[in-house]
Subunit: 308 residues, 2 copies
């Protein structure tokens, strides 16, 4: 069993490659839920949805989120009813949130709801929320504290960030199956997701980080930045706000207690020695993923590192 | 102020005519909520929605329910997720149910939620739920007890009906403004809605039926049947199951304690004398409403009876 840690868009590309290269039933994905938010009274789990849609062949690949060929008629009507509609919920996408909310209101856990939805959509890989308890990523800006989605989507990550917090994380517990998956994994892959707000909340859940440091399995990471810039999104900005260097070295230091091997961009090969000082091996490659062929090639390179 | 009692489709046609003939702000509508049901965890109020959409110019006139030009992509996706989708919720329509459910979960009453939604949709008439408490119309069939929507939509009103019940009605109270509207009304119009499952639940709420019998205002009804058949829907079937004759006379007897004048179909004029025996005046006309011109003509005839 291969275990992958991921957030949304960036990580989903590698997940798609991995699921194409190995038996998808042999892949267990531990997913960030710190970005979850209630919109219009519906429980939205953006990262779980992106991974589920990607593996179910439903993802809108152009946008990197939502369902392909979706319509936005409910959202337009919600706007007319006076609702805030900066979070773009498509009509087909809404079905997921309506179903998840109903399951949760009926007393199911987020893990159960996630499992039922992925099975209904024909996804063979297991998708595990990092926790069934509510952990909320909060972004402190000079204009006040906002949720991650407010920062990322509504404000288009433009505010200056002074700190990141994961509200509720101290009292949270790993979701069912999470620690077992880590302990029984042949290899663990840290996907190229935001180290602060995608991988950060997962390893902040008490018990998960120590399970990674203790596991005998190889832990291989793929870095989400080239030079000092994220391929997409605000990773570099949030790295700096959290006191890390916005570079491959910063990410390596961030993961230094559990990462064995780090796959970085060729552009960053001058950092190999500095990363080696943190006791992490490196390999350099082209880490950009545009086509499915790119995703599969990078997945194969990661799997080769795992076997080594 | 004119007060109208109504259910969904049939009554909505006369409501549309009335709102075109008088200042719509002078029209208060008391709406059946016995058909309300939770679908996919969302609170659906079919009759309130039909009236709101009709007055907001959104109604799908061909179907008599839902929003015109709506799409059903969320429903199709819900079906794929394993949900029961016999109740046809359109994407734009869903926005109403999502908004209402959110309002109710935030602690608003059904009256408040209804008022906010109708204002957002530009509806000038006041729409009052008969009660803010849950009253459930239950249909007893030989195969067991089902909700009104299950009977009407899922089973296409085919089962044999043995009885109708309004669960929760004994302990319910009239919604805010309902008794005041009746007491201050210049006239009360009983729309051509199902006497058993549309008008029946309204007048079963303790206090409403007696307010009708006590009011000084003229109470004018328009009958929903021609001969022994409903113009649409199962009114005739439910009349019989409730022990009434499925005829203009049966409806008149059903309403005899509060109706002053009854507008019936020309085809039923041989019943005028029998209805007079129940101390109700009658007028005969063409009660079919297809075009807006039909609806306005019938509204004018009703308003003329009110003035008389």
């Amino acid at each position: 069993m291969i275990v992958a840690l991921t957030g949304g868009t960036g990580g989903a590309k590698l997940i798609e490659g991995l699921a194409a290269e190995i038996d998808p039933a042999e892949l267990t994905i531990i997913c960030n839920t710190g970005d979850d938010e209630i919109f219009q009274g519906l429980h939205v789990s953006p990262d779980i949805d992106t991974i589920t849609y990607t593996l179910g062949g439903l993802i809108d690949t152009a946008k990197g989120w939502g369902i392909k060929d979706d319509t936005f008629n409910a959202l337009q009507q919600l706007h007319g009813l006076g609702a805030d509609t900066w979070f773009k919920l498509g009509d087909r996408d809404l079905a997921t949130h309506i179903t998840r909310t109903r399951f949760l209101n009926e007393g199911l856990t987020l893990s159960d709801a996630t499992d039922r939805i992925r099975r209904a959509l024909g996804v063979k890989s297991i998708i595990l929320p990092m926790s069934d308890e509510r952990v909320e990523t909060r972004v402190e800006t000079q204009q006040g504290q906002i949720s991650f989605q407010e920062f990322f989507v509504r404000e288009r990550w433009s505010p200056e960030v002074t700190a990141i917090r994961f509200d509720g994380v101290e009292s949270s517990h790993p979701g069912p199956g999470v620690l077992e998956a880590i302990h029984h994994a042949e290899a663990i892959i840290v996907c190229p997701s935001n180290p602060i707000t995608s991988i950060g909340p997962i390893v902040a859940v008490p018990g998960i980080r120590s399970a990674f440091t203790e596991t005998a399995a190889a832990v291989v990471g793929v870095r989400p930045l080239i030079g000092s810039t994220a391929i997409s999104g605000p990773a570099h900005k949030l790295m700096k706000a959290s006191g890390w260097k916005a570079s491959a070295l910063g990410v390596a230091q961030c993961y230094s207690d559990f990462l064995d091997t780090f796959l970085i961009a060729e552009e960053d090969k001058d950092l190999v020695e500095a990363i080696a000082a943190a006791n992490i091996e490196t390999a350099c490659t082209n880490i950009r993923m545009t086509t499915l062929a790119d995703k599969r090639r990078l997945a194969r390179e990661v799997l080769a590192l795992v076997e080594k």
